[in-house]
Symmetry: C2
Subunit: 214 residues, 2 copies
Amino acid sequence: MHKGTTSLARQQQNLSPQQLIGELVERGELTDPGSPRGRLLNVAARQFEQKGFARTTVRDIATEVGILSGSIFHHFASKEQILCAVMREVTIFASARMHSAVQEAESPRDKLRACIQSELEAIHAQAVPGFSILVLEWRSLSKESRKEVLRLRDEYEHIWLGAIRAASCRGGDAALVRRLLVGALSHTYSWFKPRGKGLSIADLADRILLIFAP
Amino acid sequence: MHKGTTSLARQQQNLSPQQLIGELVERGELTDPGSPRGRLLNVAARQFEQKGFARTTVRDIATEVGILSGSIFHHFASKEQILCAVMREVTIFASARMHSAVQEAESPRDKLRACIQSELEAIHAQAVPGFSILVLEWRSLSKESRKEVLRLRDEYEHIWLGAIRAASCRGGDAALVRRLLVGALSHTYSWFKPRGKGLSIADLADRILLIFAP
DNA sequence: AACGCTACCAAGCAAGCGCTTGGTATTCAA
DNA sequence: TTGAATACCAAGCGCTTGCTTGGTAGCGTT
């Protein structure tokens, strides 16, 4: 289902998710998922996504990792710092993923499609577990932490705005379109399930592209 | 700024928010905002919207109302029942508001515009304090409470789907368009501020209409 | 062999949470 | 004048929460 130029190109030259993670870890931008801290972050990301930040206790996270709750604070200063770290890593990874996806697309329209599809893949945890937290749990972050994550997110949003401007997007300024897309895409988390015989993620991306850039 | 047919028609024949509430209270569908229970619901709605359900304590609500925390449970069986009641009343009120707004609009396109504008007004608390909770705090609700609210929401969504189908909307089926709009509109809560010299709510509604129904 | 470092355990503290209980002041109908 | 209903207070219970403290096992380096 849906064999566009994007996915073909990705299969040909792109790194696998594993390889991309490995590269980012080597550069020191991401925590090694195999390390204790990395395992902690992955578990926290999944739990925050499922139950929300407030309804997830440090004991929940510790139990799933297989340690006691107090041991968490050997790796993080506070529960909020866990959330902040998760958001930082998610942002970095999603940014790298989207960057390479956009580069492979050729036409402006395909680049925008790549953005939409990349974010959908991130949201639906095929690719970036914990991405939806960035929107859902934004209010749970302290002011300082928000600034920190926002700075990392700059690059990500910059790619988006460029793609929106280049494609012939309806509705005036790119920032508005992007903001509407943030809401529309992140909300798919609560109704769209890619498994099954319904729409695939690529199909959904096509439909959305059709609305915003006819 | 923006004097379309919709707002003019509304000024001519429509009930004021106060009158609409009064009517719904008389019919027994809404709690009287002047009653102790009503005051409690209003305060809870505002606090849930601002801080989220989990970060709002019953003591916070009680303090703002001017009673002690224990006294709340004279009116509600549990904190979750407060959230459920807030969502029920918000749904009923928003539904009634949108119903009358759509009825006054004449063309299918204006009816869809009325839906968009009505929901934006609800989200930005000019009209329906607590509306954004319906999306933001949906996960905080128990399964049974969700069913209850969903049943009330049926009418609201029915109006939406009708308006989307009638207007020449891009993007295939109405349900998909509505779901994208739910996300896009509710997310405006975190970036759009109608006060100031920027876009008004009516302006924003126009822009969004232009994207989804060109 | 001694050291230091990382990763963890065991135990528990202080604070805050939702909620309960028993009682009281006011109101209003019978 | 009584009785019931409403709306609330005063006090606190039991539990969960994020987090702290002091100690230890394992491991690689010198």
